[in-house]
């Protein structure tokens, strides 16, 4: 028996499938196995595996419209919810496991992620990065698929009372899409809001701990670390048709806002439809 893998999870069919799919992702690796942003496929195989298990067996993700993601550069823009960024992880897993061809998703992380030990390494090795506009533009010009949640913390740490109501969108993603002529793929995730319904957010305490928020959920912090385990809701992930925008990337905020509102309305519509079609939160 392998002590590092007592249940054989790393040699399961899912692990093999994931490995084969990651091998098919085109990557610009140097002789030491890293791409210019520090992505390493072997690390991704190891760390996306738990996400793949969550994807298949915990959230039992149902995916629609994945063929809308084109082969070249693309920007996946979605709704953000659920206290921890599992929605981003599930969208990534969907594009690796179901994408044809499989795509590596470049997450654009919060700046503070780059200051955290271990997580900052993981962010780079799995193909993501601290989300500076320059890095994002470079990646898009390189033909990568970038994922961003323009609601940021506002969306992720909102209270359950505001579930599925999109919060204010940042404008940066639209300026980058215009600058690099990148199609935007709207994505709606249904299920993430119920994984850890938040009843309060102690922002002051969060600030003291150097975190952007400190949510109180039904289980956290009452059950300690166990309270961070999300409820086994079912995820529905829908990728919408590519949206193309034209215009000056340096335009006034009002002009950019109009285009951003269009994306936001599309995602909100997809969410509304997804919620109407959903029979049960868990099944």
């Amino acid at each position: 028996m392998d002590v590092t893998d007592p249940f054989g999870l790393c040699s399961s069919d899912l692990a093999k499938e994931l490995g084969e799919r990651i091998d098919r992702i085109p990557a610009d690796l140097n002789s030491y196995g890293y791409d210019p942003w520090g992505y390493n496929p072997e690390v991704l195989k190891r760390f996306l595996l738990p996400a793949a298990y969550l994807y298949r067996y915990w959230f039992r993700c149902k995916v629609r419209g994945i063929e809308n993601v084109p082969a070249g550069r693309a920007m996946v823009i979605g709704n953000h919810a659920g206290q921890i960024a599992l929605d981003g992880l599930m969208v990534s897993a969907a594009l690796v496991l179901e994408g044809e061809p499989p795509r590596l998703v470049r997450g654009m992380g919060e700046y503070w992620l780059g200051t955290l030990p271990f997580l900052s390494i993981l962010l780079d090795r799995t193909g993501s990065s601290v989300g500076t506009p320059q890095t994002c533009a470079d990646m898009l010009r390189h033909g990568e698929c970038v994922m961003a949640f323009p609601e940021g913390i506002r969306g992720m740490n909102k209270l359950y009372a505001d579930a599925y109501q999109l919060q204010e969108f940042g404008l940066g993603f639209m300026r980058l899409a215009l600058e690099t002529d990148t199609p935007i793929i709207p994505v709606a995730v249904v299920g993430s809001e119920e994984q850890a319904p938040s009843i309060a957010n102690l922002e002051g305490l969060g600030r003291m701990l150097g975190m952007p928020a400190f949510p109180i959920t039904l289980t956290w912090p009452w059950l300690g670390p166990l309270g961070m385990i999300p409820l086994p809701v079912r995820y529905h992930i829908e990728f919408g048709a590519p949206m193309r925008f034209q215009g000056d990337a340096d335009d006034e905020d009002e002009v950019i806002e109009e285009k951003v509102e269009e994306v936001k309305a599309t995602i909100q519509g997809m969410l509304r439809r997804g919620l109407a079609e959903r029979r049960s939160i868990f099944l």
Partner: protein, 305 residues
């Protein structure tokens, strides 16, 4: 271009560059240190840049081009001395160049001027702000030097002046902070951090300086190496073992060693092995057609034990 004067000619990079240039041009230089066994066709003046006599040397040598390498890049001298050599020395040199109507000037800065910050873009372009003093005040003189040179570029448009910002330079001759670190017997790293780092071979840097001279470059240019790898990959490739130490501990140790004058880096130098400071070298490549000859494997082999 016939004659080139190099400041800091007796340093590792200075010697390499002088020998390379001496094959095609007349080369002379200035340095505080002496260069034992300098080739006969290279004239070396033992002199401090801050001395008045320096202006006379420029006037009598009357070179077509000046390469400025004479910077104190370590922290073993008082910060006042460092500042005086780096900032005032550069000021003196630029004044002399203007007065003697030198045709081209190349100043060797460093990509460190951008500073190592968690929120740095992965590949910084030349217009990125010079943030080094935000976390590393001892290095603000390098940013000041760049300020002096930039205003010189605007003031004297007839003189082709370029600033080169090379990435971590390794090799047999150069003494660099990162080289000193990678040659340590025990190689501590900051636990939980493993930034991407770029490396450049000293011979390729010499070639880059030659290109900047020959192409009569004007402006600021990053000089990148063949590729970037995580710090720990570099350490492994050099044949050493990284020992991750929790940050508070390694910070305290380095502060203590610095105070005792055993290890010559202030604790915020740690940021450079913690956060990325990677640059895009595209501008220099498209201006000169430069292509590094030495691969990462060659670079690491040159400092392996």
């Amino acid at each position: 271009m016939k004659k080139i004067l190099i400041t800091g000619i007796a340093g590792g990079q200075g010697r390499l560059l002088a020998k390379r240039l001496a094959e095609r041009y007349e080369v002379c230089g200035v340095d505080r240190m002496s260069w034992e066994g300098a080739p006969r066709n290279i004239r070396v003046h033992s002199l401090d840049l801050r001395k008045k006599r320096f202006r006379n040397i420029i006037r009598t040598e009357a070179p077509d081009a000046v390469v400025h390498l004479a910077f104190v890049r370590h922290f073993r001298v008082p910060s006042a001395v460092r500042h005086e050599v780096n900032v005032n020395g550069t000021q003196r040199l630029l004044e002399a160049c203007a007065e003697c109507e030198i045709d081209r000037v190349v100043v060797l800065s460093s990509s460190y001027v951008y500073g190592a910050l968690a929120e740095n873009p992965r590949y910084m372009h030349e217009d990125h702000p010079l943030n080094v003093s935000r976390t590393f005040p001892e290095m603000r003189d390098l940013a000041e030097v760049e300020g002096l040179v930039s205003s010189f570029v605007w003031q004297y448009p007839k003189i082709a002046t370029s600033i080169l910002r090379p990435v971590n330079t390794l090799g047999y001759y150069v003494h660099s902070a990162i080289g000193t670190y990678l040659k340590l017997d025990i190689l501590p790293t900051v636990a939980g951090y493993d930034p991407m780092m770029q490396f450049l071979h000293e011979e390729d840097l010499s070639e880059a300086i030659v290109l900047a001279l020959e192409k009569r470059l004007n402006g600021v240019f990053n000089v990148a190496g063949p590729a970037a790898v995580p710090l720990k990959t570099a350490i492994r490739a050099i044949g050493r073992t990284a020992i991750p130490v929790p940050e508070p501990l390694i910070g305290a140790i380095i502060r203590q060693l610095f105070r005792m004058n055993v290890y010559g880096f202030p604790a915020h130098a740690l940021d450079f092995i913690k956060y990325p400071c990677t640059v895009s070298g595209e501008k220099f490549v498209s201006a000169t057609g430069y292509k590094p000859l030495f691969s990462l494997e060659d670079i690491f082999a040159s400092v392996a034990r």
